[in-house]
C-alpha cells in the first residue's frame, strides 16, 4: 500500500500538479475544488432549507433542474479531489480527518440521490433527509478544512 502511495506521489501527474506553476497547477485545482464543493454544498443547503420549510412556496418541480448543476459541481470536486490526493498521497492516506471527510461526503452524496428519488419524484416530505444532509455536509466541510491542521498535529 505504502509503495503504491509513494509511486502515485512520484508520478508524472503529481509532479505536474506541484510544478506546473500558478495558473494551471496546484492553486487552480484547489480553486476548482472549492468552487465545486461550494456549488454542491451550497445548492444542497438551499434545497435542504426549502424542504425544512424555508421559502416553502417554491415548487419542488422547479428546483429539479438544479440537480444537474449539483452533479456537475460534484464531478468537478471529485476530479480535482483525486488530483489533490495524488499530489500528496502518503500525507492524505495517513490523515484520519481525510477518511472522516470521505465518509461524510459519501453520506451527503447518497442523500442527494435519495432526495431526488424519494422526495422530488416520490412525494415524501424529506424533512429527515434534509436535516441529515445538513449534518453530513457540516461534518465533511469541518473535517476537510481541518485536514491540514490534523496532519500537522500527527506528524
Amino acid at each position: 500500500m505504502a509503495s503504491v502511495l509513494a509511486q502515485l506521489e512520484q508520478s508524472g501527474l503529481a509532479t505536474w500538479i506541484h510544478e506546473s506553476g500558478l495558473l494551471y497547477g496546484y492553486p487552480l485545482i484547489l480553486f476548482l475544488h472549492t468552487l465545486g464543493l461550494s456549488t454542491v454544498v451550497g445548492l444542497n443547503v438551499a434545497i435542504d432549507l426549502r424542504l425544512l420549510g424555508v421559502a416553502s412556496r417554491v415548487p419542488l418541480a422547479s428546483l429539479d433542474k438544479v440537480f444537474g448543476l449539483l452533479w456537475a459541481g460534484f464531478g468537478v470536486t471529485a476530479v480535482t479531489g483525486v488530483l489533490l490526493f495524488v499530489a500528496d498521497a502518503t500525507k492524505h492516506a495517513s490523515n484520519p480527518a481525510f477518511f472522516v471527510k470521505l465518509a461524510f461526503v459519501g453520506g451527503g452524496v447518497t442523500i442527494v440521490a435519495l432526495l431526488r428519488r424519494r422526495v422530488f419524484h416520490g412525494g415524501e416530505h424529506g424533512r429527515f433527509l434534509a436535516a441529515a444532509s445538513l449534518g453530513c455536509w457540516f461534518v465533511a466541510l469541518t473535517a476537510g478544512r481541518l485536514m491540514a491542521y490534523v496532519s500537522e498535529f500527527i506528524s
Partner: protein
C-alpha cells in the same frame, strides 16, 4: 495610488454617510414617508459595506507610514481601536437595515435610529483621532486620544486569535460554512434571475435571503479575525485587495433581490425586467465566483 491613498478616499464615507442616513431617517419620521425610510436603510447598508474596506485599508496606510519617524504610533493605535469600536455597531446597523429592507417592520425604525446615532458618535470619535495622525497641531496636551478608559476591540480580537491556537482553524471551518450558505443561496437566486430555473415568482425565494446574509455576516466576522491576527499577510497582498473590492460589489448585488422582487405587469416591463434580471443574476454569480477565486489564490497570487 496605494492603499493609504484608498484609505484617504474612503475614510470620510462612514462618518458622513451615517450622518446622511440619520438625516434621511429623521426626515422619514417627520414626513412619515416609506420611501425616505427605505432610502435611509439603503444608505446604512451601503455605508456599512464600504466601512469594511475603509477599516482594512487603514492597516495598509499604517504599514506605509510606519517608516516615518514623526508618526505618532500611539495615536495610530488609538485610531485603529476607536475605528473597530465604531465598526462593530456600524455592521449591526447595516444588518438591521438590511432586515428592515427585507421585511418592512415598523419596530426597526427607532432601533436603527438609536443605534445609528451611537455609531455615528463612535465613528466621529475614530475620525477625530485619525485626523491627529497627520496633524499634530490639533492633538490636545497629554494625548487624550490614548486615554486607557475606552475598550480596544481591535487589540482584543488580535489577542484572542493569537493566544488560542484553536481559534484560527475553527474560524476557517466557519468561513467555509458561511461561504457555502452565501454562495449556495445566491446561486439559487441568481439562477432564478438569469432564467435557468423558472415557474415561480422571484418573491418566493425571499425567505431564503437571510441565510445568504447570515453567511456573509459569518464570513465578515471570521474574516476580520484573520485580518486582525495577521494584517500584513493581507494588506501586502493584491489578491486580497481584489477580493475585498469584489465582496463590496457582491454585497451591493444582494440589494436587488431584496428590494426589487415584484413581478412586472405590463408587457414592456416584463421584457425590461427579464433583461435586467438576467444581467444582474449573471454579474452577481461572476462576482461571487471571482471572490472565491481571489480568496483561494491569496497565498499564491499577489505576494511580491
Amino acid at each position: 495610488m496605494n492603499l493609504a491613498h484608498v484609505h484617504l478616499l474612503l475614510n470620510h464615507v462612514p462618518t458622513i454617510g451615517f450622518g446622511f442616513g440619520i438625516g434621511l431617517l429623521v426626515a422619514s419620521l417627520v414626513r412619515d414617508s416609506a420611501d425616505l425610510r427605505r432610502a435611509s436603510y439603503v444608505v446604512f447598508f451601503v455605508v456599512a459595506l464600504v466601512a469594511i474596506p475603509t477599516y482594512l485599508s487603514g492597516n495598509a496606510a499604517d504599514f506605509v507610514l510606519r517608516t516615518q519617524p514623526e508618526l505618532l504610533q500611539d495615536v495610530v493605535t488609538a485610531h485603529q481601536n476607536a475605528a473597530m469600536l465604531a465598526l462593530i455597531p456600524m455592521e449591526i446597523v447595516g444588518l438591521v437595515s438590511w432586515l428592515a429592507l427585507w421585511q418592512s417592520r415598523r419596530w426597526h425604525q427607532p432601533a436603527v435610529l438609536a443605534l445609528s446615532i451611537v455609531t455615528f458618535v463612535l465613528m466621529a470619535r475614530a475620525a477625530n483621532i485619525g485626523g491627529q495622525i497627520r496633524h499634530p497641531e490639533i492633538v490636545a496636551a497629554g494625548t487624550a486620544a490614548s486615554a486607557p478608559s475606552w475598550p480596544s476591540p481591535a487589540a482584543m480580537g488580535a489577542a484572542f486569535v493569537l493566544d488560542h491556537p484553536w481559534v484560527w482553524p475553527i474560524c476557517e471551518v466557519f468561513h467555509f460554512v458561511g461561504l457555502c450558505l452565501l454562495f449556495g443561496v445566491t446561486l439559487l437566486v441568481n439562477l432564478r434571475l438569469a432564467g435557468f430555473i423558472s415557474g415561480f415568482p422571484l418573491a418566493d425565494l425571499n425567505r431564503l435571503l437571510p441565510w445568504a446574509v447570515a453567511g456573509l455576516g459569518i464570513n465578515i466576522v471570521t474574516g476580520m479575525l484573520f485580518f486582525l491576527a495577521a494584517p500584513e499577510q493581507y494588506t501586502q497582498n493584491s489578491a486580497f485587495t481584489w477580493k475585498m473590492g469584489l465582496v463590496l460589489l457582491g454585497g451591493l448585488s444582494l440589494l436587488y433581490p431584496t428590494m426589487f422582487d415584484e413581478e412586472p405587469d405590463s408587457a414592456f416591463d416584463i421584457l425590461h425586467a427579464a433583461m435586467t434580471r438576467r444581467l444582474i443574476g449573471v454579474c452577481s454569480l461572476v462576482i461571487w465566483i471571482a471572490v472565491i477565486f481571489f480568496g483561494r489564490f491569496l497565498p499564491y497570487l499577489g505576494t511580491e
